[in-house]
């Protein structure tokens, strides 16, 4: 998990589109993961991720695990550049609108101490 500066996450006025954009995010290149002795190499990532909510609502809730997510199914698209300086490797994805994903949702969540189970 990486902290995001305030400017890194923006929403459209109607709240249905979210854009997450960051540069020089420190990551690791670990080709042999999940081997226990898998070596790592420092790498960096720039990316732009756009979520667009659909009109299909979703609600996931588990009182035993104390969480509730309410929102909408979404479409998400990503463009990114990955750099592994030590091996002089760079990979750049095609533009944002050429990507697609299998699962995306956006909404709000409450969990843990903020969660109140539904009154039966």
């Amino acid at each position: 998990m990486t902290p995001v500066p305030t400017e890194g996450l923006t929403f459209s006025q109607d709240g249905t589109t979210a854009t997450l954009q960051m540069t020089n995010v420190p990551i690791i290149d670990q080709p042999r993961w999940p081997a226990m002795d898998a070596e790592t190499t420092p790498a960096f990532m720039d990316f732009k991720l756009v979520f667009k909510a659909t009109s299909e609502p979703v609600k996931y809730e588990d009182p035993l695990r104390q969480f509730r997510f309410e929102g909408f199914k979404a479409n998400a698209q990503l463009e990114a550049t990955f750099r592994v300086p030590s091996i002089d490797f760079t990979f750049k994805t095609d533009p944002l609108d050429t990507s697609k994903c299998d699962f995306a949702v956006m909404g709000t969540e409450v969990n843990g101490k903020y969660y109140e189970p539904p009154k039966s």
Binding site: M1, T2, L20, F89, T93, C101, T108, E109, Y114
Partner: protein, 155 residues
């Protein structure tokens, strides 16, 4: 996140499940694979397009003069994932999509990206796999016995 470059886009690539509990299969003969995972680094912030000073570390402060200690301000992990050494699970319906426990706020999550790209030698590759997984969590979380505001991403 696992980010897999596949020189043969027509081939199914079953890849490892980063930070979740499913089985994995790695086919190294057919993959040119750049596996990248986010550094678990609340102390190693990414930089925005418009530069901003780095957030302070969330490590627990060392009390002076026998003062009280309420722990650090790092977000608390999801307990039943953390006990197995995981920090998140693959997003799907009816699973907790957050990486943070004691959280309320905006959240979005996605996985299973597919696309194409080019390396610095001009080679074209398909990218993405079931665990190419991104999220944001923006809101309030509880740590060190007080509420904090923050925005985080899992990449």
């Amino acid at each position: 996140m696992r980010f897999t470059l596949d020189p043969n886009p027509t081939k199914d690539t079953l890849v490892d499940q980063h930070h979740n509990q499913r089985s994995s299969h790695l086919d190294r003969r057919h993959l040119l694979k750049l596996g990248v995972a986010s550094v678990l680094a609340t102390a190693l912030p990414g930089r925005p397009l418009r530069a901003e000073s780095a957030p302070e570390s969330c490590a627990p402060p060392i009390p002076k003069n026998h003062g009280v200690s309420n722990g650090g301000s790092c977000p608390y992990p999801i307990p039943w994932l953390d006990k197995n050494g995981n920090h998140n699970q693959s997003p799907a319906p009816n699973v907790d999509l957050s990486n943070i426990f004691h959280f309320k706020g905006k959240l979005a999550r996605c996985n299973g990206f597919h696309g194409m790209g080019t390396d610095n030698k001009g080679n074209r590759f398909a990218w993405g796999n079931p665990t190419t997984d991104y999220s944001y969590m923006a809101g309030e979380y509880w740590a060190a016995r007080e509420a904090h505001q923050g925005i985080f991403t899992h990449t």
